[in-house]
Symmetry: C3
Amino acid sequence: MIPTLIAQTNGRNGRAAYLPFGEKRDGALFNQSILSVKQFSRADLEHIFAVAGEMRMMVERVGSFDLLNGKILAVLFYEPSTRTSSSFIAAMQRLGGGFIPINEVKYSSVAKGESLPDTIRTLEAYADVIVLRHPETGAAALAAQYARKPIINAGDGVGEHPTQALLDLFTILEERGGIDGATVTMLGDLKYGRTVHSLARLLSLHNVKLNYVSPDVLRMPRELAAELDARGVRQFQTESLDDVLDETDVLYVTRIQKERFANLDEYAALKDSYIITPATLTRARADMTLMHPLPRVGEISPTVDSDPRAAYFRQVEYGMYVRMALLAMVLGKA
Amino acid sequence: MIPTLIAQTNGRNGRAAYLPFGEKRDGALFNQSILSVKQFSRADLEHIFAVAGEMRMMVERVGSFDLLNGKILAVLFYEPSTRTSSSFIAAMQRLGGGFIPINEVKYSSVAKGESLPDTIRTLEAYADVIVLRHPETGAAALAAQYARKPIINAGDGVGEHPTQALLDLFTILEERGGIDGATVTMLGDLKYGRTVHSLARLLSLHNVKLNYVSPDVLRMPRELAAELDARGVRQFQTESLDDVLDETDVLYVTRIQKERFANLDEYAALKDSYIITPATLTRARADMTLMHPLPRVGEISPTVDSDPRAAYFRQVEYGMYVRMALLAMVLGKA
Amino acid sequence: MIPTLIAQTNGRNGRAAYLPFGEKRDGALFNQSILSVKQFSRADLEHIFAVAGEMRMMVERVGSFDLLNGKILAVLFYEPSTRTSSSFIAAMQRLGGGFIPINEVKYSSVAKGESLPDTIRTLEAYADVIVLRHPETGAAALAAQYARKPIINAGDGVGEHPTQALLDLFTILEERGGIDGATVTMLGDLKYGRTVHSLARLLSLHNVKLNYVSPDVLRMPRELAAELDARGVRQFQTESLDDVLDETDVLYVTRIQKERFANLDEYAALKDSYIITPATLTRARADMTLMHPLPRVGEISPTVDSDPRAAYFRQVEYGMYVRMALLAMVLGKA
């Protein structure tokens, strides 16, 4: 029985014997697509983060291992995102799997007019799991509707980017040891930023207070605030970081794009007050966690980088562990 | 003796011991280039398909294995083809090998004016086998003339695309259990489609009847029909699928490009009659095999996809097995 | 203790037991960046070439091995170079490692305005070593200043391309068995070619004579010639290859770009005298080594390729061994 033999010797050099992961294929996410943060219960999150924590430990101890040896990930990006695609490619290889990079969709049969479902059904003939980045909202759900293999949404337009929200939450947990009771302040463009929307939804499964700091034209959407309110999340909106900085446990900074302002005078008046500098940090809590989804273009001064509270580059690394966990889980190996 | 030890323990975990493939390096295709369907005898085809069938069985059982562990494939595409390049990249990795993706030749030294022979001689210093897609007819043969390593032609202009023809024939064999005695109907652009030309040549090695259904301006080239006639292939040409549908065992659909018509009224009058719909299938044989090289842009209605006769997505998967077989064979491992 | 177990069984199938490389992490280059030829002593070069020679032997015997199993290389190219990126990708995979290909920086977050230090700190969260190609001089040094992981400079503008110079010198050593006492003639654009500048610096660590053959407008820069003179290197400048051909042990040919000439008549008058043909070789030494960094566009006639003195395609292959050595050394595995 070949499958049995493989189960016994899973991984090179029998190293898998040291892994805490079993072969059981009944995990909550096995063969499921990852489309939206809305699909996760708090129990799901705890499971994902437990696996991600194990991934972190294993990478720090041995670099990589062979949990997904023989599996192949298709990395299908209809718009560029070096950060996200690199993270998934690294995650898959650190688990011993292979990958098919498809970054240039203008070059592909897509450019010849092929439908997304056809492209997906083609790639699932080659790969075991597909990570999809697409400019249109709902693209990942459409793909999953046609696919036999798991689809992981790596961002679909103004829709969702669930793995970013998961890594953001994992960062808070790993940096702080917990989340319940924390005050999380979101700063910047809260209107158009899908990142903060998805993160706010995940946070609403926990006992947190949310502060929103943004110019008036870029406030958190009313519907989302109402949705969170209905779940009992305490929320506070202000235009000034100073109003909430001293109570902030986690400061999540995002970029404000000049193009969002009809009135450029308003932009000029506001923009400096949203830049994080060493002076900002002198007024912040000593154990505050400073986060940013990156890339940044001036929202956080590089002079802040050496402050131990600056967590944004560690946040990048946590992202790899979360993606390793998701890949292992949807393939039934965690 | 290191080579001997490796032969004994070939592959991770000794899994290769379960493989039916020996270490013998005297296979028919060892160190040969795959340039044209014309190079294959019927015995060659049977050998390739036997190996491809084993590849299919192994992938279905264990996902991937280490037959080509330590070998590297250069994927050199001078024009885009996500489908074909992904298929080769997946095939190589499912055999345990590595790959060098070179999809953007406009970025390469080619753009600086390097000749194809120089590029090939550079890449063969790094890789063990090169898959080449090139817009010019004869490019693969030119490459093979200069290379010490095997070249696999993945399409050279209006010339050949032999691995597509091989996977088409393998699809027929796997779907139907055999080919001899079958009636194969080719539909669409039979004049310019290199796919149907190459497939027709491979089919001529078997006992088949070929029907050609196309508008008059897109008929199968006279010279090719004569070549097939000389080999004793029964051929029948018509403009209407209805003339031959009820006797058709395999229906191979290809795309008709509007640009081929001088007279757009003629195109408008014809195009609907070449679209496959559920209504078409009600008049077709219950065990017919419906194929398409993909991508499709309307030639087969998506409402047909759920019909068990629709084989085109399975056809994609058979392509991976055929390419695995070819890679293993030219590298002397099958 | 997992690390100990891994050290004992390093590599698939215990093959690493046959490797001459220990686990010692105190090598001269461990965790260092490769930024400039200026960082190497003659002892460093001897160490690198000893390891490169072992890499060559191992590749020729077994194709690839698992020294860097579990390590990941980020291949970050801000400008295209198929040859160099393919060489590093092949080198990493022949050592059992993985890679993240980032060839299209116009598509990346860089295009959104991210700084090089931020991009580097992102990628080092995923990868163990980063190879960087960048159009600006000093980019690699800037990257190394911010990185915790080793940076390998794969060319930064008119600055340095140290791995090219190392492979050039390794080629001379492997082809000739030694370098001391040799006369090396450099031909072509000696003013702007970073390749010849870097190679000249490495050669200056050995007992060599350097001849420079170039049009007057493309002479070796005065400052570099002075630097080499201060180290005791004998140098001779001429416009005519005939002046020095008969004493030349190594002829290193580079391309002359028409655009360098203000006066196109001067270009037209000169260019043919710098093309290497079979006629040139009849007047050259029987054991001369003919090199070119490639790509070539006419500087060496293809009719010369079959001459045993034509070493430029072997030079490409030596490059892979040198890069394997560097990757293994900076990761503490050689």
